[in-house]
């Protein structure tokens, strides 16, 4: 992943858990960096999420701190105090306003973040040499089985701008209009309000269209930082030259990151794309897609490589969205298996069986009602998910 001028990453060992790895990540931004973000809709969100929301209103960033191994969620005043200490320590170090500091934490819920470990970890990060983005992707992970990053570039105002995105997440994944812990860095100059508009739009067809297990985290956060050091005239609206190219590159990075989370879904062995068409609206199509993607019976059928499309019918019918049994069509891969409310007579099972043996599964559902459409992504439900989550100790 390329360097981003104006964004300098560091990692350190705070020791939030009994492990031998860096678990505190710190990214320092040059003055003038703008920021946008989207956060979880979970009503029991962490103090970190509250802080990010408040600081996003100012639109400027000088630093990002990410703690791994403890989410600090549901820890009351002690949790809020810990975040305040971190923000104060970094703002003093950088001689900047506290509203320019952003903090996330991820890990077990309900255990206050140890303030002394956070303070010592930050001091170590301040004194460390800069690291790579790859180091940061490892530093923010928890149950992730691989580090996740994505890049894109765009020509804006005659300058090539770079975008780097990193993300963590594997379980408790159902962002629903919010996201995972994900961070996007660009050297493009982008007005904070416009960056927010672009990120919110990209989020809608990326992070908000994935699910691993239907469980929405209390800490989900995606932040995008634009250092402005590529030298382009600052983007302020879609009318600016290069805005469309930048928006496409940003959406590309968001989609790549979202897919990486699904591919690393707890216990996942298959990546499933669900394309819903013919719905009453795009929002309705997305909700039908997520009902299919969240169905344990659909996910176990795919794990078993079983073309049990009746379970897809069931999931469509339970979604609570407009649907008509007698106009519904379903395909696995490119093979239509049900059309207008009943099985396609004597459809060829061979290509369906071959498709289901692949790692990448495609399910198409046409509701036959309107022009609404959406694509959502999920993984299968396997013994691996049970092993990971019935053993994971709090």
């Amino acid at each position: 992943m390329p360097d981003i001028a104006g964004a300098t990453p560091y990692v350190a060992r705070a020791g939030y858990k009994e492990w031998d790895r860096c678990d505190l990540s710190y990214v320092r931004f040059d003055a003038g960096t703008t920021v946008a973000g989207v956060t979880t809709q979970n009503l029991c969100c962490s103090a970190e999420v509250d802080l990010c929301r408040a600081h996003l209103r100012h639109g400027l960033a000088r630093a990002l701190v990410v703690n791994a191994g403890n989410s600090n969620a549901f820890t009351g005043q002690r949790g809020k105090d810990a975040v305040d200490v971190i923000v104060g320590q970094v703002a003093a170090h950088l001689s900047c306003d506290v509203t320019e500091i952003f903090v996330s934490s991820t890990g077990v819920i309900g255990v206050p973040l140890p303030i002394d470990k956070a303070q010592a970890g930050l001091e170590a990060a301040f004194g460390a040499a800069p690291c790579s983005w790859a180091d940061i992707t490892h530093g923010i992970g928890t149950t992730d089985t691989f580090a996740k990053g994505a890049t894109a570039s765009a020509m804006v105002d005659g300058r090539k701008v770079q975008i780097v995105g990193i993300i963590k997440g594997s379980g408790m994944i159902a962002p629903d209009m919010a996201t995972m812990l994900g961070y996007i860095f660009t050297d493009a100059a982008v007005d904070a309000a416009f960056l927010q508009q672009l990120l919110s739009a990209a989020n809608k067809s990326s992070f908000s269209c994935i699910t691993v297990d239907s469980d929405t985290s209390t800490s989900d956060t995606v932040l995008a930082f634009a250092t402005g050091q590529a030298g382009n005239m600052q983007l302020t609206s879609y009318d600016d030259a290069g805005a469309d190219a930048f928006a496409a590159a940003l959406s590309d990075v968001c989609r790549q990151l979202a897919h990486l989370v699904v591919r690393d879904g707890e216990g996942a062995q298959k990546f499933i794309e669900i394309q819903v068409t013919g719905a009453a609206s795009n929002d309705s199509a997305r909700r039908v897609g997520l009902a299919i993607a969240n169905s344990p019976l659909v996910k176990t059928a795919i794990a078993g490589e079983d073309a049990n499309w009746g379970r897809v019918v069931m999931a469509v019918g339970k979604a609570g969205e407009p649907a008509n049994r007698d106009t519904l069509s379903i395909r696995f891969g490119s093979t239509l298996v049900a059309r207008n409310g009943l099985a396609v007579a004597d459809y060829d099972e061979a290509p369906v069986a071959r498709h289901l043996k692949q790692k990448e599964i495609e399910i198409g559902v046409d509701l036959g009602l309107g022009s609404g459409h959406a694509t959502v992504w999920t993984c299968d439900l396997t013994h691996g998910y049970i092993s990971i989550n019935a053993d994971y100790r709090s």
Copy 2:
């Protein structure tokens, strides 16, 4: 289970699957039997569900037919034709109106019910000797691991009336205002409209408060038949003598049946009761309870006997119902583990660990907002669920 005067059960072998068992159940009612029912909210419901809804409007029943091994759902006109043949054959045999015949089918979705097997099975049932209710509970089962029935009695108008209930269901269980395949028989005399009122009320705190896997079946149906042969004056409203006693007995049978389904949830090793209090309304409490009950992370934590109450916090927050992180309290068994938004300092883990080793788990959640309350029931999520559903062939 006691005999119900006026209701005579029979079983026969239709051979809907390659198995050596009775799979067609037939219950004949004497003239004058009233009927009420509740059915699935799944929009892709079966032709049988459509038929029951239409016939329930007439309020009278002479026969019930239940086919096991094939749900006949999503089979278009051929599925509807199969049901019409069954209804016609039974109505001709009994010389009654077709609207007095009720049919359910359960099993794989998307395969038309073989009409010839249904016809031959019915003829066998017509010629068979009456069987026991226990025979019927086996006859209607599919993936059930045990037969499920419940009984209650009540004094109405100086007469002892009997209620017998039978049910099948183990997976694809999230009735949400509807039910499983369940049948209730009573010799009480109850007006059809009042019976419907009583059944709908009982359903609301029984079948609608259970979930195994959040997946709502296309065939869910519960029907209640009242033969009237106990000799009581027909119940027509709550003002009638004995109506309260009968309502309590009916609710008792419904709750027993609902609990049996959860206890036989696919792969279940533990029975979990979730009590939600302090909600904005009773409906809101029920939805919060179901969000907890449907959370894969909560269900796997219980399977692992892990007091990971942070996952309960997460599930409350994602429910989309009024909730406030800082007034939330959680208990496992009788031990309060979190109060007003943070962990109870130094709570005694010993009784919590002991409680989680039991087969019957109780989780209490107080939202601290209002007086709304509800109790829902579910089971844990284990390797058994994955084994059953990743191998179950369509």
